[in-house]
């Protein structure tokens, strides 16, 4: 009989343990807290572009969560998305002229709505509307601005070739664009290793239109976008003599391993901070 008791006790313990872990998994490792809402009031916002914003994404003031995105709709015939924000009743002192912006948490993180306070005396009420919004920043566009996007140059006028030596070309390959001031002026004709000097010899085919490039210009291998392809950027120098066919660019800057940079950045940076611009800024400055 005591045998049977121990079964019952052990089984009870097992079941309690099982439900305890279930409760733990369900409450401590999920976003259930994000789903549960206290009393909230709804605010309408219109965004020109919501990017990757999803329902139930957080709404933050000064980086602290005050509510969540209730719904995202697109009214037919309109070009802007209607977003309803459910904001906790406790945070009812939000000025009416505040600005709602869609931010990205971290480089690859989810997007959220950030509210920056304005100065109006009147506070937002239920069903109110935030008139001032800033749409989602498309990371690609931002990077594109930094690095300058653009297709390959048209070769209508023919090309002349210039050589450049790099100690490291990274993933540069033939056909990659050659840019000056972010605009494509030619393409990489070939990438070869020099068996004697043990560096890479890159042949650049530059459009004849651009024949006023000083011969002390520098060439650098850059990356377009975060995980984009690499290209050669020409930074004009001050020499009165211009580059001619067959010349060699003496000043070169080898490929930066952007992955390394970002890797370090991601590991060290905390996810709440917005630092995507830091790394491209640094390299863009050199351009």
């Amino acid at each position: 009989m005591s045998q049977r008791k121990s079964y019952a006790v052990g089984t009870g313990l097992f079941i309690v343990l099982g439900f305890a872990t279930l409760a733990y998994l369900a409450t401590q490792t999920t976003s259930v807290a994000n789903v549960r809402l206290g009393d909230t009031y709804t605010v309408d916002v219109e965004f020109a572009n919501v990017g990757q914003l999803k329902e139930r994404a957080p709404v933050k003031v000064a980086g602290v969560r005050v509510g969540q995105v209730k719904s995202i709709d697109l009214a037919p015939g309109k070009e802007a998305a209607d977003v309803k924000l459910a904001i906790d009743k406790r945070f009812d002192k939000i000025p009416e002229d505040s600005v709602a912006t869609i931010f990205t948490s971290g480089l690859l993180g989810d997007q959220y709505v950030g509210i920056e306070f304005g100065h109006a005396r009147k506070m937002l009420a239920d069903g109110g509307r935030l008139a001032l919004t800033r749409p989602a920043q498309q990371l690609e566009e931002m990077l594109g601005k930094f690095f300058g996007a653009g297709g390959a140059a048209d070769n209508l006028g023919g090309t002349y070739t210039v050589k450049a030596r790099f100690s490291n070309v990274g993933a540069l390959s033939a056909g990659a664009p050659v840019k000056m001031a972010g605009v494509a002026i030619g393409s990489v004709a070939s990438v070869q290793a020099d068996p004697v000097k043990l560096d890479a010899v890159v042949t650049l085919a530059i459009d004849r239109k651009y024949d006023q490039i000083p011969d002390d210009s520098a060439a650098a291998v850059f990356t377009s976008g975060l995980i984009g392809s690499q290209y050669v950027a020409i930074q004009p120098g001050g020499s009165p003599d211009m580059l001619k066919d067959g010349d060699e660019l003496v000043l070169t800057q080898s490929a930066m391993q952007l992955e390394d940079l970002i890797g370090k950045f991601l590991v060290n940076g905390s996810p709440g901070e917005k630092k995507p611009g830091t790394s491209p800024d640094a390299s863009a400055g050199k351009q």
């Binding site: 089984t11 097992f14 099982g18 872990t21 279930l22 999920t30 976003s31």
Partner: protein, 257 residues
Amino acid sequence: MNGRAASDNVVLRSLAQIGDCGLFLLTLLAAVPRSLRHARETVRQVWFIGALSLTIIMVCGLFVGMVLALQLYHVLSIFGGTAATGEVVALAVYRELGPVLTALLFAGRAGTSITAEIGLMRATDQLAAMEMMAVDPVAYVAAPRFLGGLIAMPLLACVFCATTLLGSHLVGVSWLGIDNGTFWSNMIAAVELRTDVVNGILWKSLVFGAVVSLIAVFQGYTTPPTSEGVAYATTRTVVASSIAILALDFVLTAFLM
């Protein structure tokens, strides 16, 4: 039964087994109300099937979590995304690995013991003795084990998932140095209650528990009453359960996710 003897074809035999198994399920379900009279026996089976499987479940969960964290760390470090380790471990474990591995371990640990136990009861006339004592063996022996498995599986799956997180935390945070806060907050941000915990862990493990216990009880109950028969039946339990688990996992994933 005669049909099975007549057909040498493996396919036909398997089909006949599945058919018999389905009929057995009906008998079993019909016996469940009667087996509530033996609720104490069901409790005992939850102990044997569930609580005694805890050790293997927890040890395996720990190691699965550790190896997952190790592998993910190395792959994610290529993209500088090691902070996502906890999140990926949790999603993989909640949605697939947790229920599936628990069910496979459950089939190996509890399923075989159910089959062997019932098979031996058959071989030593214990089932016939119950019949003779006017006790229905389906209600007294088969149904409590089936119910026990049904109750134990989801609980075991929860424990497995929790120990997996513990294992990945050990390797990821304590050893490889992922930030503790990021590990948890990324996980919490990514895991959803309904799709991951309820649909992933609970529903899948409940279905797997039912299927594995059904197969185990069926194989034990219909085994030829010889030592050879019992040996074959336990093997068949593992084989049939494993196939059923993985096939059903696909179906469930397609439906639930």
